[in-house]
Symmetry: C2
Amino acid sequence: MTQETPHPLDPATPRELAAAVDLIRKSCSGVDVQFKAAGLKEPSKEALLPFLRAERSSMPYNAPPRLIYVMFLYRHTPRLFDAVVDVTNGKILEVEEQPRGNHAPADRIEMNEVAATCLKSPLVQKELKRLGLDADVVVMDPWIYGRDDDVEDRRLAQVFFYIRNPKKSDDFDSNHYAFPLDFMAVTDMVEMRVEEIGRIPLGATSVTGKDEAPLNVGQPVEAEYAHHLQSQPARTTVKPLQVVQPQGASFTVAGSLVEWEKWRFRVGFNYREGMTIHDVTFDGREVFYRLSMSEMFVPYGDPRNPLHRKAAFDLGDVGAGSTANNLGLGCDCLGLIKYFDGAVIDQHGTVVPKPNAICMHEIDAGIQWKHTNHRTGKASVVRKRQLQLQTIITVANYEYIFYWTFDQAGEVEFETRATGILSTTPIDPRCDEEVPFATRVGDGVLAPYHQHIFCLRIDPCIDGDGNTVEVVDSVPMIADPVLNPYGTGYVTESRKIKTSGSEETDPLKARIFKIINPKKMNRVSKTPVGYKLMPISSQKLLAAPDSWHAKRAEFAHAPLWVTRHRDDELFPAGRYTNQSRGGTGIKSWVDRRDSVENQDLVLWHTYTFTHNPRTEDFPVMPAESVRIALKPINFFEYNPALDVPESTQASNKSVLYQAANGCCRGDSP
Amino acid sequence: MTQETPHPLDPATPRELAAAVDLIRKSCSGVDVQFKAAGLKEPSKEALLPFLRAERSSMPYNAPPRLIYVMFLYRHTPRLFDAVVDVTNGKILEVEEQPRGNHAPADRIEMNEVAATCLKSPLVQKELKRLGLDADVVVMDPWIYGRDDDVEDRRLAQVFFYIRNPKKSDDFDSNHYAFPLDFMAVTDMVEMRVEEIGRIPLGATSVTGKDEAPLNVGQPVEAEYAHHLQSQPARTTVKPLQVVQPQGASFTVAGSLVEWEKWRFRVGFNYREGMTIHDVTFDGREVFYRLSMSEMFVPYGDPRNPLHRKAAFDLGDVGAGSTANNLGLGCDCLGLIKYFDGAVIDQHGTVVPKPNAICMHEIDAGIQWKHTNHRTGKASVVRKRQLQLQTIITVANYEYIFYWTFDQAGEVEFETRATGILSTTPIDPRCDEEVPFATRVGDGVLAPYHQHIFCLRIDPCIDGDGNTVEVVDSVPMIADPVLNPYGTGYVTESRKIKTSGSEETDPLKARIFKIINPKKMNRVSKTPVGYKLMPISSQKLLAAPDSWHAKRAEFAHAPLWVTRHRDDELFPAGRYTNQSRGGTGIKSWVDRRDSVENQDLVLWHTYTFTHNPRTEDFPVMPAESVRIALKPINFFEYNPALDVPESTQASNKSVLYQAANGCCRGDSP
C-alpha cells in the first residue's frame, strides 16, 4: 500500500467523503439532495479478518476496496435513501430507498432551521405575546420527536422554549436551561411548519398546562455555568498539576494503528458510533475484533403530556461522531497527548473535519501490584500505567465522555461519564407540593428524572475464531458430611450459552460472563483460555413493557445479549431509530436462535444511569461515572504485568510535601 | 493547647504509648507481660463533638484527656487483659481481665516464635524427612486458627508449609507460595508446642491427605514475583511519567488537620483500623463524624480438612495499622506527597514507629464537568482534581490498598484494592481432574477460591446532629390514563429506616441509601439536605448459615446495617475476633431495635470480592478494585464544583505527541 491508500479500517477520509458525495449528487441530477450522513462502510469480517491476519504476519494480502455509506433525503420530501459507494473504483454499488417509516437522524443545520421556523410562526408568536417576551431573548432546544402512537409518520421535531438569563440576556452563552418557558411546539420538518403548540404544566401534580397561572420565571441561586457569567468568582486555591513524560510516550502510532505495552489495535471513527476500536491483540494474540458504544437511549420519567415523548437515541437519532468535541490540549486532555481526527459531512454534502475527536495518553492509576515479604522486609511494587483513549460528545444539553483504557495486565476498561446540563421544564416557584418524578434544581426550574441506557458492543476474538460465552456463578457447596463437613466450601457453576438470547446479571452470585475459546487450553489452569466481562448490574428501562419506549429500545430489556455475528448488525435499536416503531433491533436477531457455541459471536452489554437529578447537578452536572471491565481469565499462564519494571523514585521523581515534618524513606527504623 | 499537646484525635504518640506501657508494666510487677496492642482510645462523642465544634469556631473548650488503650497477656498463660490509661494524668483508669473465650490478635514476633517452634518439633521433622527436605529450605505461613467446633479454647495457630524455589533456595525473597507442601501443623501458642500435624490432600477430589501419592513439587512457568528473581527481564518500553506541581500543593496540613478545596478533616491512625478520617466538613458544614474500614473477613472455599478453617479477620485478628507499609516516595506514591506517620507497640511493649503509614497527594481524574454550547461553540471545561489518601497493608500473603478520595464536587470515595500473593495449597501435577473450588495457578499449585468481605463504617453528621437513613428506589409509575397515559412515568419511592437493622442492595431499582438531616431543608429542592451512599452490590458470605464462618462474621450477612451510635461499637465482628464464637458483633447491636430516625446513627456497608483465582493472579496479583461513593444529594443549592477554575493549557502545560501529524487546537475549522 502506498502512503496515500488508507488502511481498510481507517475512518473515511475527507477526500473519500467528498468523492462519495459527488457521485451521489451526480446520480441525483435535478434533485436537491439533503445529505444526512456518510462514513466508512467497513469491509465484511469475511474479507477483513484474513487481511488483518496476513497484515499482522507481514504476509501479502489484497486490501478490500474502500466503501463509503451515504444516507440522504430528497429535500422537502420524506424520501430517504441509503447508498454504498466504492470510492476505490469510483462507482455507486447500491442505492436503496427506505420505507416511509424509516426516518433519518437529525442534523444541526436542520435543527437550526426548525428553530428559525418556530420563531417566525404565528402560533409561537402568540405564546410569546402571552408571556410578554420578545423573540430575541428566546432560545430553543429542538428535539427528536419520539413516538406515542402507531400512526404518526410525518417527519417531526418537538421544540422546547427557554429564555436567556434576564439579567444577562445579551450574552449568548447565558444558561437558558435555568429559564424554561411553559410551551413547546411540534414542527413538521418536511414542510418546515409549526403544526401544534403544547402547553407545559406548571404545578407539581397538574397534568396539563391549560388554565394554569401565568408563568413566573424564577431566580435560580446560581443559574450560570460559564465562568464569565457566574455570580461567584472562580476559586483560587487549585494549584497547577502537570503530567510530564520527559522521555516521550510509551506508545507508537502509525495512522490508525496504536502499539503500547504488548497491545496493538486500530482506532476507528464514524458519524454514528464515534470512536471504535478494532483488531485488538495482546502480545500477538487476538483478543477483540471490534469494540464500540453501539447505542444510547435517554427516556424521561415525567409522564405529563406533552413531555411524555421526551426520549432520544443519542447515537441513532443524532450520532456520537457528528457531535464529537474538538478536544483541547491541556483542557480536555492532560499530559503527552496524541489526537486522532475524524470527518463527517453536513446536510449540504460538505465535508466537516472533526479534528481532535479522540485523544490518547498515558495515565498513572496507582498501584498495579505489590507484595512485601514480611520475613525480609523487601517490597516489590509496580505502578499501574494505562493507555486511555477519550472522546467527548455533546448531544444538545448533555455531554458524554467515553474512555477506552488498556492496562499492562491485559485488562480493558470502558468508562462512561455523563456531564453537561439537565433538560429542564418550568414549575411555578410558589408551588410547594412534592413532585414524585422530578427535582427542583433552581427557583422555577424542574429537572425530570430520566435514564441513560447504554449498550456496549463487544465482538470478541479470544485467541482466534470460535468463541463461547459461559455464565459463571459462585455458589455454596452442597452440605455433605464428607465433601463439605463444615459448610465452608463453595464452587463455581458454569453454563454455556448455546443459542442467541439474553441473560441477567446477578451480583449476589458474583456472576461473570466468560468468553472462552474452547479449542485453546491454558496448560497451567487446564481450562480453556478466556476473557471475562465484569458487567454493571443496573436498572432496566422503567417505562412500561407496552410503552413505545419499550418497543423501540429493545436492547434495554436485558443487561446482556449474545448474538451470532452478522456484519450489518451493529445497532441494537435498529439502523433507523428516529421515530422508530421497534422490531428491527437486537430482539429479532436473538430470536433467530442461532447457535453461539464455538462460533463467531457478539456480546452486548446494556447498562443504565438512572438519573434522578440533584440540586448539585445544576447548572452543570459533576460527571457521573461507571466502568465495565474486560479481564483475562486463564488467558495467560501468569500475570502479564509481572515484567513491568519496579516503580522507583529515580524514574517517578516525586517530591515530599514538607521535608521538615515528613519522614522520608530510608530514615525510618 | 501548646505545640506539644496532641489534638484529641491525633494518633497515639510514641511518648504516650511508652508512658502507657510503662504504667501497665509497673502495675504488673513480677509478671512477664506480653503486650498485644495499644493506641488512642478516642474520647466519647459526647465529650469530643462539643470540643470539635468549639475548635472549628475558634471558641475555647477544654480538650478531653488523652487515653490509651492497652491489650496484654500474661506470657505463657491464657490470661488476657484490656486496660485504659490516662496519659494526660498518668494513671490507669481500668483493667479488665477477659473471659477465656476472648483471644488476642496475633503478633509478628509471636508468629515467628510459632514458626521456630514448628521447625524444632519432631512431628514436623518427621514430615520433612518423609518429603526428603532439609529444614533450611522451609518457609512457614503461621495463620490464625479460626474455629470449627464449640469446645476448643486453647490459643492455637495453624501453620502452612512451603519451600523456597528449589532453583533459588538461597534467596530469602524467592516465592515459596509456588512450592506448597502437603502438611500443616496446629500449634499451641501458650505452650509453644506443636499439637498436631494435618496432611493436605493432593488430588482434585480427594478429601484427606492420607494414603496419597508422595508430593511432587511442580515447576511453575513463572514462580517468582521479585524482579531480581524473575526468569524474564523487566520490559523496557515504559517511559517515565511524572506528576509535577510547580506551585506546590493545594492542601495545607497542620498536624493531623487537612484542609483542601473547602474540605477540612483530621487523619487518624491506630493499630487495628489503620487510617481513619474524622470531623469532616465541607465549606464549614458538617458531613461525617468518623469514617473507617472497620473489619475484613477472608474465608476460603476449599472445604477439605484441614483447610476448612482457613479464614481470617484481617483487622481484628491482625490489624491494619500494625501491618501498614512504609510507603515509598516515588514508589508507592507519585507526585507531591505528604506522609502521615503512626506508631504501634510490639509484644515487648517497645514502641514501633510506623513512618509513612499514610500518604496524601492530589490527582487529576479527568473531566469534572463540561458543557459546550452548540449555538456559540463555547466550551466550558473543568478538570476533576481530587485529594487522595492511601494506606497499604500486608497481611501475610495479601496486600490491601485503601484510598479515601475527596472531590471538589463534595464527593467522597472509598476504594479498596486487593493485590499480593494467593494463599496456595499443593495439587498433584499429574492430576487432570476438574477442581470445583480452586484454580491451578502453577504446576502443582492450587489456589482455592475465597472471599474478601469488607465492612466500611460511616458515622455521619449530615449538616449537624440527628440524621435519618432513607432507602430510595426508582420504580415505574402505576399505569393511569390521566397521570401516566403513555406508561413512560417513573418515580422514586422512599422508606425511612426507623429502627436499627439491616437492608439489602437492589441495583435493579437503582437503590441508594440517603442519609438526611430531617431538620435542614434545601430551599431549592424543598427537601431535606442529604448525602447518598452508592453501595456496591456484591455477594454475601458463601459459607453455610450454620457454619462457624457465618456465626463469627455477623456483618457478612447483609450489605447494609444501621445502628444507633455507641462509642464502643467500632468493630462489627466484635472486639475479639480471634477464635471467636460470634455473638458480640453487629447483629446484637441491631437487635436492640434502637430508634435510628433523626438520631445519632451509624451506617455500615459490607461488600465482597468473591475471588476465584485466575492464572493471571500468580505469582503476584494485578490489583482488583471496587469503589464506594458518598455523594451530596440536595445538600448544596447548586454544583459545589461550579467555581473550580476553567481547565487551561496555560496551567496544565500539556504536550502534543506528534506536532507534525496532530492538529492542535485553533488550527481546525
